[in-house]
Amino acid sequence: MIPFDYQRAEDTRSAVATVTARPGAAFLGAGTNLVDHLKLGVAAPDLLVDVSHLPFDMIEPLAGGGVRIGATVRNSDLAVDPVIRQRYPMVSAALLSGASGQLRNVATTAGNLMQRTRCPYFQDVTTPCNKRRPGSGCSALEGYHRDHAILGASRHCVAVHPSDLAVALTALGAVVQVEGVKGARSIPIIDLYRLPDDAPQHDTVLEHGELITAVDLPALPMATRSTYRKVRDRASYAFALVSVAAAVDVERGTVRDVRVALGGVAHKPWRARRAEEALRGAPATDDAFRAAAEAELAGARPLRDNAFKVPMARNTIVATLRELTRREEP
C-alpha cells in the first residue's frame, strides 16, 4: 500500500473542493471496496477524504411522493426501513441478498453504487486490464470469464458491475444527486453508469471530485409489488451470476406496466427496456414473459465460457415475473 494522507471532511463543500483540486485524492465512505483496492494496489490515492460521517444519513419523503435516500445511509438500515420495505421491496431484497450482515452494517448507499467490478483481472495488478491500466488489454476476453458480461460489452472490457442495489435502483429509475465544485446536478441512474466502449476505466459519468449525496426514488406505485432475485454459485455471501429486479402492474391478466433490470450481465446495471416494451399490454403468461426475455437477450453476445448466462437470465426473468404476477392475481 502506497502511503496516503487522511482527512476527515468538515463539510460537503470543502470535501468536494479538496478532492477536485487533487488528482490523487479520493473520497472514503465505509471503505468496504476501496480498502480492498488499496491493499491490492488497484487504487493508490495520495489522500483519502472521509465523507462517511457527513450528514446524509436520512431517508426522507420527497415532494411528489418519492423518497430520498441519503448517501451515507448504511445498507442494513436502508434494508429495514419501513417505507422502503413497504413501497420498494425490491430495494430491501437486493440489499439483503448482498454481502453479509457485517458488511451491510457499514456499507453506504453511495459506496454501494460506486463499487467496482470483481473481475479477477481487474483485481490482479500483475495482469493486463483496460479498466485498471487503459490500453494494456483485456485479459478476461480469452481468459477466465465465466462471471463476465453477455450484454453491452466491448473488446476493451467484458467486466460486470457487482452491485445488487444498483440493479433495483435502475429498475426503479432512481435519480442520483451529485455535488461538484460547479454545483449540484441530478443524474438518472441509467445515465450514471457507462458501457465500457473504449474507455472502461470510467465506470460512471462522474467527474473527479463529484460526490454522490443522495439517491431519489420516484413515486412508483407498482413498486410495492416488486422483488429482486439473485442467482449465484452459493446461496449467500456471493456475487450474482445473474440477477433480476422487477416490478409489475397487472390488470385483469394484462401487463399494464413493468420494470425490469438485470444484474451480473453487463458493465452496468442493465435496464431491460426491450423486455419492458414487449410486455406492456401483453398477457401475464409464461409465454409472454419468455418472449419478452428473449427479446431483451437477442442482443446477448456471450463469451466462450458464459453462454449459460443467456438461458439463466431468461429463466430468471420469467420466474421473477411469474412470481410477481401470481402474487398479483388473487
Binding site: P3, D5, V35, L48, G101, Y237
Partner: protein, 161 residues
C-alpha cells in the same frame, strides 16, 4: 511513511489514544498495536468474518475498516466480552456445544453471534443461518454453531443484550 493520525478509540471499555498510520486497518491495529490477537485475520478482504468486532455496538469487519475511521468509536473485541473471568453466554454456549474445531473462526463467530442475537435475528434456526452466513467455518461446526446461537439467544431473551 504516511503522516500518522492521532486516534482516540475506546476499546473494551478502555480509552486508547494512538497514533496510527492511515493505511492500518482496525484488525492490524487491534492485533499489532494493542496486542488484542483474539481478532483474527483470515482473509483480510471481507470474505470470511474471522475479524468481526463490534463498533458502536454493531458488528463490522475490522479488516475492511481503516483504524483512522474508528476515531471516537467504541470497539468491542472478543477479549472484551467476558467480565471477571466469567464467560459471556455466547462463549459458554459455544464451549458447551463444541461449536468449533480448530477455533480460528470462533472469535469472529462469537462476536457475530452476540450482534445477531442483539439484532433480533436469532429467533429460528433458519434465521440464525441466514444472519450468520458472513462467518465461514471451514471445519464446518455449523450445526453446533446454530445450536449455540439459539441457546444463547434463549438465555439472553432473544433481542436483549
Amino acid at each position: 511513511m504516511s503522516n500518522h493520525v492521532a486516534v482516540t478509540v475506546r476499546v473494551n471499555g478502555v480509552d486508547r489514544e494512538i497514533e496510527v498510520d492511515p493505511r492500518a486497518t482496525l484488525t492490524e491495529t487491534l492485533r499489532d498495536r494493542l496486542g488484542l490477537t483474539g481478532t483474527k485475520k483470515g482473509c483480510d478482504r471481507g470474505e470470511c468474518g474471522a475479524c468481526t468486532v463490534l463498533v458502536n455496538g454493531r458488528r463490522v469487519l475490522s479488516c475492511m475498516t481503516l483504524a483512522v475511521t474508528a476515531h471516537g468509536a467504541e470497539v468491542t473485541t472478543v477479549e472484551g466480552l467476558s467480565s471477571g473471568g466469567e464467560l459471556h453466554p455466547v462463549q459458554r454456549a459455544f464451549l458447551e456445544n463444541d461449536a468449533f474445531q480448530c477455533g480460528f473462526c470462533t472469535p469472529g463467530q462469537v462476536m457475530s453471534a452476540v450482534a445477531c442475537i442483539a439484532e433480533g435475528h436469532a429467533t429460528s434456526d433458519d434465521e440464525i443461518r441466514e444472519w450468520m452466513s458472513g462467518n465461514i467455518c471451514r471445519c464446518a461446526a455449523y450445526p453446533q454453531i446454530v445450536a449455540s446461537v439459539a441457546k444463547a439467544a434463549a438465555e439472553l431473551g432473544g433481542a436483549a443484550r
